[in-house]
Symmetry: C2
Subunit: 343 residues, 2 copies
DNA sequence: GTGAAAGCGCTAACAC
DNA sequence: GTGTTAGCGCTTTCAC
């Protein structure tokens, strides 16, 4: 008696998790009604709502957002691209973004582009593959191919931390040129006569540095030495940059750094050499990181409202995702120079 | 002649993006064959592979991982939960995790739990809803309900940065008790006789602190004052903690901090008061952040190989996701005391 | 307010 | 090695 070969019903296991179907059955309604109870509760009678809510609680149902995203073409996922997560600069932006999105039922996916563009293609592939409802770029999308792919994917894009005359789509940022100029004017106003720069070699820091140089020259400074260090910047870069400046341009009386960490490096090196800050050398940072105010001396720095940037970016994307018109697509959050003791 | 009511073919727009179907048609093969060409290229003839690859390139196709994840019950998404992304402590772990996963075709989704457990439930809902192939916990899953839900979701879990006798599932970490003890012994060995502590009020820092106290007492110290500060720790917490210690326990000659940032705060405050480090007070940090070596004086601290933790966690999860057996489910990465100038 | 049917884009399961 | 079929779990479209 050998086993009869039954024509084998094709069965796929599925994940085994509780589905909306199960919930609906338990609540005694159709799946679509259960779906509405969860997504648009006011389209459903109070009675049904309660039955579904109870069923969800009893079963421990958690909706499958892969399925939902596939069906609705809305993943409720937003991708953010940062050069590196270990850079503290964008942290507040990412944090604000995370929170603002979470409040609205969206989730953030973080991608690292690195400061070069080697992995950019793979990163874009990974991002677009998840069909996010929006992409937030901090800094630049380097390659033209990258830009083309983003355009082709038709995903709303918010560029941040910069202001360009030719935005991709939406934009929240500030003018790096204005920052450079403002800091130069600030130092000149403080009576500094021989300013120097230490800057990460990324595009935006370079732009700040060049604007600073130009403004400083306009104010009568003959040469404005600049030391470029590889991004991401570190404390140690600051230390060795000051050492270099002291060697090559001994008379300097002020340094504008492209990050607070560099500034801390400058101050550390100065301290270890017995150079007075701000007495001999004034130091200005960039970023106003949390610790800037608590350093000794307290750091004068450029404050960017990274939180506002993140919140506005979230707003932009959610508005788009939910079909609202976005008229004003460029927001300038500006900046301010926070004057403390170091300059 | 009024328009005849045709029984309306139900049509859904879809996203409008290029689908695998389009690629297959262009390549002249069945969709599943195109799928195989992309996912398991060696199951496909060279000729087909080329045709599909060409079609992908010509159309700019990017595979829809929502659909793929739904169909295969493998999202290739891994969630990591950190208390906060602005804490630099887990940064190396997150970075290593991101990279190790990306190399294997997985993507990281970052969630912030906060240092309290208020949002934990919403976070879990958001995470489980995406059906990740694994979850990496840095620190603790606080609430019992949280643990229950994770268990119910049947998602592989890696706990990190700690060692517990009762792991949830998989574990990569080190012993905080051993750290506390080792640092106490280290300072005692350096001839310090009156040690104090500054610790964030999170669970693990507290455990390190208590182990430190116990070991210090065993070594003959009468009382070992400790100042707890709210997590996440800041430089300023360090400054005010030292101020407090100097007031309440004036004779101290060493401070073990629960983070390098606290240590920097201690050193900053010491410097501003003219207290010599390590002359009068030795300082030991925790974390060995990038800048620790470059401070002045260079910071003696506890080094944790966060990168190894991240890599091992990725390995664990990918192994599980790909159906390999994971025998050794607990890895102790240990720690080391990096002796520099501050102690 | 509620439901039936169809389909989002992909892959598992089975045939050949 | 390649194709057919039937879903994965949800939401859209249309109908009542």
């Amino acid at each position: 008696m050998r086993p009869k070969k039954v024509p084998a019903r094709r069965t796929r296991r599925g994940s085994g998790a509780v589905t909306l179907h199960d919930v609906a059955k338990l609540a005694g309604v159709a799946p679509i009604t259960a779906s509405r109870a969860l997504n648009t509760p006011d389209q459903v009678s109070a009675e049904v709502l309660k039955k579904v809510t109870d069923a969800v609680a009893r079963t421990g149902y958690v909706r499958n957002r892969l399925a939902g995203g596939l069906a609705s073409a809305r993943s409720r996922l937003v991708a953010a691209v940062v050069p590196t997560i270990s850079g503290p600069v964008f942290l507040r932006t990412v944090q604000a973004l995370t929170e603002a999105l979470a409040e609205r039922g969206y989730q953030l996916m973080l991608g690292q582009s690195g400061y070069d563009n080697s992995r950019e293609d793979a990163l874009l592939e990974a991002i677009i593959g998840r069909r996010p409802d929006g992409i937030v770029l901090t800094g630049i999308m380097h390659t033209p191919e990258g830009r083309k792919r983003l355009l082709a994917a038709a995903i709303p894009v918010v560029e941040t931390w910069d202001l360009t005359p030719t935005p991709f789509d939406m934009l929240v940022g500030f003018s790096h040129v204005d920052v450079g100029r403002a800091v130069a004017d600030f130092l000149v106003g403080k009576g500094r006569r021989r300013c120097a720069l230490v800057a990460g070699n990324d595009e935006r820091a370079t732009r700040r540095a060049q604007a600073f140089q130009k403004a400083a020259r306009t104010a009568g400074m003959r040469d404005v030495p600049v030391v470029y260090v590889p991004a991401p910047t570190t404390l140690n870069h600051g230390r060795s940059a000051l050492a270099e400046l002291l060697r090559t341009a001994p008379g300097i009386d002020a340094v504008f750094c492209s990050s607070d960490l560099l500034a801390l490096g400058i101050m550390t090196e100065a301290q270890s050499r017995g150079i007075a800050v701000p007495g001999q050398i004034a130091v200005v940072g960039f970023g106003d990181l949390e610790y800037a105010a608590d350093l000794h001396p307290a750091l004068t720095t450029v404050r960017i409202d990274g939180t506002a940037i993140g919140r506005q970016a979230a707003q932009f994307i959610v508005d788009r995702a939910e079909g609202r018109r976005v008229d004003k697509r460029v927001v300038d959050v500006g900046f301010s120079i926070v004057e403390r003791d170091s300059a």
